[in-house]
Each structure stands twice: as C-alpha cells, then as structure tokens.
Symmetry: C2
Subunit: 201 residues, 2 copies
C-alpha cells in the first residue's frame, strides 16, 4: 500500500461517485472513505473539490476537444467534408470519455460556475460555430446544434437497447452527419446532391 498512485486512485473513485450520485451530493468524505483514506489525504493531492473535478476533464475531454478545434481551424474555409470530419473526430474523442460526458450533461447546473464548466461550454460553442453557417436559416442552426447534442446524449441514453456502446456511438455519428449535411445544403435533408452550393430561400 501507500504507493505513489494515490492521485490516480482518487480520480478513479471520484469519477465513479460523481457520475453515480452527482457532483454536489458527492462529498469528499465519501470519496475518502471508499478509498480507505482520510479527507486530509485528498487535500494533499488536490487543492479543492473543484480542482479535483477539473483534473478529470482536462486530460480526457478538454485536451482532445482542443485538438479537434485546432484541426478544424487549420482547415478553413470549412467545406462539408471538413464538417463531417470534425464530427468524426469529436465523436471519437467523447467516445473515450463516456462517463465524463454523461456527468457533464447531468450536472450542468453544478458545473456552471466552475471554471471547467465554462471552458467546456466554450469548446462546444466553438465546434457549433465551425459546423454551422453564421447566417443559416433557423432550422439549419437547430440541425447543427442537434447534431452535437445527439452525439453527446446517445452515449448514455437508449438504456433499453442492448447495443454495444461503440455501435451506438457510430449510429449517433451517422445521424449527426446527416443533420449537418442537411443543414449545409440549407434545405430539407436528403442524400447529398452534386455540389454543396444549393442555398435555401
């Protein structure tokens, strides 16, 4: 015992409990108890409760999401193919952090005034700007927002479905790509026509 991996073990248990019982209802006492250590030990490794939850996001989602954004911004102006690849990359990145994405969605209110909450919000908004046209029709903006939401929420809904998580992720990606394709063409969805220049209205 008493290894140097305590920090990691704290993170594992914290994520598990945060996901299971929610951020606010999970106390540091509970985390410490389940690890068989004391609260004071937690405070040695993390300055505050916020510091602990932030550390969970940084490596698993914030960093990867930034990588997607950086790639996207290096490929402007954004063609439809680029948009679809953004969705593809982002889907892969959140697929590696399913419990955290679920946690984020179920605890928006709690994370709202934590710095990590604001940072995640910024990333998602940036991605949305990248896949939607600024002056698109309202329904097309809804389609793009829905695409991102669908990829997120499908990771942890459809409980009745006995489908493999990876299958669900792929299905969600497919639907998201359809939505963005429809939005890109600026009209009712359908299999992509010749070139992507048709403009709605």
């Amino acid at each position: 015992m008493s290894r140097g991996n305590t920090r990691q073990r704290i993170q594992d248990v914290a994520l598990e409990l945060f996901a299971e019982r929610g951020y606010e209802k999970t106390s540091l006492r509970e985390i410490a108890e389940q690890l068989g250590v004391t609260k004071a030990a937690l405070y040695y490794h993390f300055k505050t409760k916020e510091d602990l939850v932030t550390s969970l996001f940084e490596d698993l989602v914030l960093g990867p999401a930034d990588a997607v954004i950086a790639w996207a911004e290096a490929h402007q102006p954004t063609t439809l193919e680029t948009k679809l690849e953004i969705l593809n990359r982002y889907s892969a990145c959140i697929g590696n952090a399913t419990p955290l994405v679920r946690f984020m969605h179920e605890n928006q209110a709690a994370l709202r005034d934590l710095s990590i909450g604001e940072q995640m919000k910024t990333r998602i908004l940036t991605l949305l700007q990248l896949i939607k046209d600024q002056d698109a029709a309202l329904t097309d903006q809804v389609r793009c927002a829905s695409a991102l939401f669908t990829m997120h929420s499908t990771l942890f809904t459809l409980e009745g479905s006995n489908a493999d998580p990876e299958e669900k992720r792929k299905a969600a990606l497919e639907v998201a790509q359809e939505l963005v394709t429809a939005a890109h063409h600026g009209s009712a969805p359908g299999p992509a026509p010749e070139t992507g220049n048709a403009r709605h209205e």
Copy 2:
C-alpha cells in the same frame, strides 16, 4: 400584504432561483430572504424542499405530458401521422414550461433520486416508445431519441440567436418531425415519399 397568494409567490421565486443557481445550490434561506419571509414560513406551505420542487412540475409539465400520452395511447396502432401529432402536442406542452424544462435538463443528477425526477423520466421514455418502432434499426432509434432531445434542448440553447422563442420552438419541432419521419421509413431521411411502406435494407 400577507395575502393568500404566498404559496404562489414562493413557487415563482423558487423556480427563478432553482433555474438560475441550480437545485442543490439554492437554499430555502435564499428563497425566504428574497421573499422577505423566513424559512419557517416556507415550511408552512411546503412540507420539504422536495415537496416544493415537485409542486412546480406537477401542473406545468407532468399533467400536460400525461395528456399527450393519453391521447397517443388512444390512437394506436401508431401511424406516422399520429407520431407527428404526438411531437406537435408535446412541443406545445413543453413550450409552455421552458424554464422548467431547462431546469430539468441542467439538474438531472439532483432530481434523479427525487420522485419527480423518476416520474418525468418515465414520461419521456413512454413518449419515446410511442414514436419509435420497437425493432427499429439502431440509427432509427437514435433519430427518435434525438427528436425528443432536440425539442427539449432547443428551448434553451442557440443563445447567440436573437430569434423569438416561439420561432425556435417551431424550428425544433420541424427538425424533430423530420427525424421521426426518417426513422419511420427506416432509411436515410428525405421528403416523405408516396406511402410510408418503404423499408430500409
């Protein structure tokens, strides 16, 4: 002052604070202070904090949602037209309770082990069962779940958009109906063909 409308005033302030700061972070002390009364006064009108939040949902969403479900179950077997009308009615019902729907989404973790949270979850799952075919392909199930999620989340996203809330609601309904139509036909989305019998694969 000291009218008989205190109960209503408590509900108004509670919803405002719950929506703004989250369920857990809003204390009864804050609600009482903003009303200029004491905590004890709150306890006269509501047995517990849970009782207070439950009262907010019962009239504004739980009842109306049950009405939609009752209508849907009276119109089985469910045709595409019925499904679209379910979406239409549900959209109207949540459109009347926007702050509450937002609150529900942002506080899922907090509401999870409150009885009202479970009840709302049941209603949404029931609606999902009604609009999706039990043995549909995975992507079609995702489309149906996404349709409901889209109607919910569009009520309180697209912040940059200066669009009128009612316009956003209608746009979300339109996209949701497209998704369910595509799922109903069991293939890639598109304007509804002649009759709804074309089957995917």
